[in-house]
Structures are given as structure tokens and as C-alpha cells.
């Protein structure tokens, strides 16, 4: 599992992938990874060994759908967000906002105490 500054991304990877598909629209795996890397300013440069299994798991759970796109030079598997995926993303975004607000309140207080 990739980490960022020692923080485990487990649990957040699904949300990141769902959000990328919502923002970028239907896309194949390579484009999803590239989009995630670009939108995060290079922070989330996730390895393929993490992203593809996660995409397959999301599809198994009905949160994304996929189909072959034969219009390109090579056959490509294109993923798209399902209605269930959009609902799950909205719920996770709410959870994340609450979590971030709480963390900010605690960490912000600690910072004020430490630095006057």
C-alpha cells in the first residue's frame, strides 16, 4: 500500500479513484493514474500494482463499470463511475470533510499552543 509522508493511503484509495473518475469522466487505467498524479500535483503518483486491483475490486462491488474501447489503436478497458459509485463517493466526501474538520481543530489547537 502506498504511503504519503508515512500516512497509509489504505481506505482513501477508493475515494481517490472514484473522485478521479468523476472529475475526468470515463478513462482507462493509464489515464486514471496520470490524472490522479496531475490533479494532486505529483503527490499521489500511485503504482499500477495498487491501482488496477483497486479498480477491479470497485467494479466487483458495483461502484465502477468498465467496457472495452476498440476505437483506439489498442483495445482499452475504459472505466466509468456508476450511480452507486457516485453515491458512495458523496458519502465518503462527507466523512472526509468531518474527519478533516476534526483533525484541523485538534492539530490547529496544538500548533497554537506550541508556537504561541
Amino acid at each position: 500500500m502506498p504511503s504519503f509522508l508515512g500516512m497509509d493511503l489504505r481506505g482513501h484509495l477508493d475515494m481517490l479513484l472514484l473522485a478521479t473518475l468523476r472529475n475526468a469522466g470515463p478513462a482507462h487505467g493509464y489515464a486514471i493514474i496520470a490524472s490522479l498524479r496531475e490533479r494532486s500535483g505529483g503527490t499521489f503518483d500511485l503504482p499500477e500494482g495498487t491501482v488496477y486491483p483497486a479498480l477491479h475490486r470497485l467494479e466487483r462491488d458495483g461502484l465502477v463499470d468498465s467496457e472495452w474501447d476498440a476505437s483506439a489503436a489498442r483495445r482499452r478497458r475504459v472505466y466509468r463511475l456508476t450511480a452507486a459509485g457516485a453515491s458512495a463517493l458523496a458519502a465518503r466526501r462527507r466523512d472526509w470533510r468531518d474527519f478533516a474538520r476534526g483533525m484541523q481543530a485538534v492539530l490547529g489547537q496544538g500548533v497554537r499552543e506550541a508556537f504561541g
Binding site: 487505467g29 493509464y30 503504482p47 500494482g49 488496477y52 486491483p53 477491479h56 475490486r57 466487483r60 478497458r77
Partner: protein, 240 residues
Amino acid sequence: MSEIERYLDELFDRLAGQGATGRRVLAEAEDHLRAAAADAMARGLPADRCELDAVARFGSPAVMARKLRSAAGGGRISRAVSLAWLLAGLAAGGLGLADLAAAGRLGWYSPAYLCTNFLSQSCNSAGPATGDTQSAVIATAAGAALLLGRWLAVRYAGLAPVRRGPALAAGLLLGLAAFGLGTTGQAVALPDSVRSLVADVLPGPYVTVGAACSVGATVLIECLAAAVSLFGSRPRWYLP
């Protein structure tokens, strides 16, 4: 052979037995690797370096195959269910066939032993030997139904296949179970010569020894088969 082709060959090997899922993963991997290498080449990097970098980013074929198989097939629970289903089908079918063979052997000497229409009233009054034949037919049919149902589940419902080792272990299990039952005089499928040989080799407490041997070996093999199926690191041969 290029680095990408070498990687795809190994990934293909690791995904053996996965059917449509394996084919899809392989096609996705090839598209991704070639796109990544082409992008790097467009930035002016040498071709061999581009392929090496693309393959390195993709990760080990073994790890990738394991993660994808787990994601697609539901992981260990699916494989455990699949293995249990296979063992149950093999056990029921094998024991049923063994008893049918025994019934056929006895029927050779006494045709009245067999009952071709075991649902009729006349069969029920034919004596206990007919009941054995009925049980054998039912066990064989149940085993065949279990194996067919499992094959359909793997093929069309995404149930995980299992490695060939557990199936071979199941065959050995059946043999040992028959051996143990034979020593206790319960397995009519064993030829008289084998049973008398066992009695000669293990005089006296051979019944207890045979039963203990059978039960112990059965438990050991089931544990080993489950461990290989769930935690084996180099899946190469699969049974659907």
C-alpha cells in the same frame, strides 16, 4: 524478446486458469505497459530504458496476479468455498463409484444383488444389498451434480478455481479413507485379497491402526490442501 513481452509472458503464466479475468488483465496490462513506454519514448528516453521503467512501475507479476485474482474472485473466502465444494464432489462421487464397482463385482457372482430400478417397491424388498446399491447410485449422482454445479459456478459465476494439488490430495484422501474402512471391514469396494493382505500385515489391532491411520491422514491432507490453496505462492496449475 522485449522487457514488456517477457513481463507479459510471466504474468500470463501466473494468471493461468483464470479464464476471462486472466485474459482481461493481460490485455489491460499490455495496453498500459505499451502506453507508458510510448509516453516515455516521446520524452526522448531510449526504448529499452522506457520498457524497463514501465515494467518496474507495474510491479512483480506474482504480486500483481495475486492481487488481481483476489480482487476479481473474492479472495480467500471464494477459494476456500471452491476447494470445499470440489472436495465434497470428489468424495461423494468417488465413494459412490467405489461402492458401485463393489456392487458390480458382487453382482457378477449374484445378479440378484443388483437392482436396476431402485425406486420400485420390489427393490425395497430385495434385501440390504439393494440398499447399498441405492446409496451408491445416489452418492455418485450427488458427486456428479456437485462437480457440474461447481464447474458452472467457476465458469459463469466467478467462483475462484483452485490449484491442482488439492484435487490430487483429495484423490489420495479417498484412497486412504478406503484403506482405513477396508481394515475395519467396512469397505466392500476393496478386493478380498487386499483386505486379507492388510489383515496379515497388521494382525491383532489392525482395525484400530487402520482407522487411526485413515482419519489422521485424512485430516492432515485436508489441512495441507487448504493451506496450499489459500497461501501457496506459485499458482501454476488450476482446476476449473
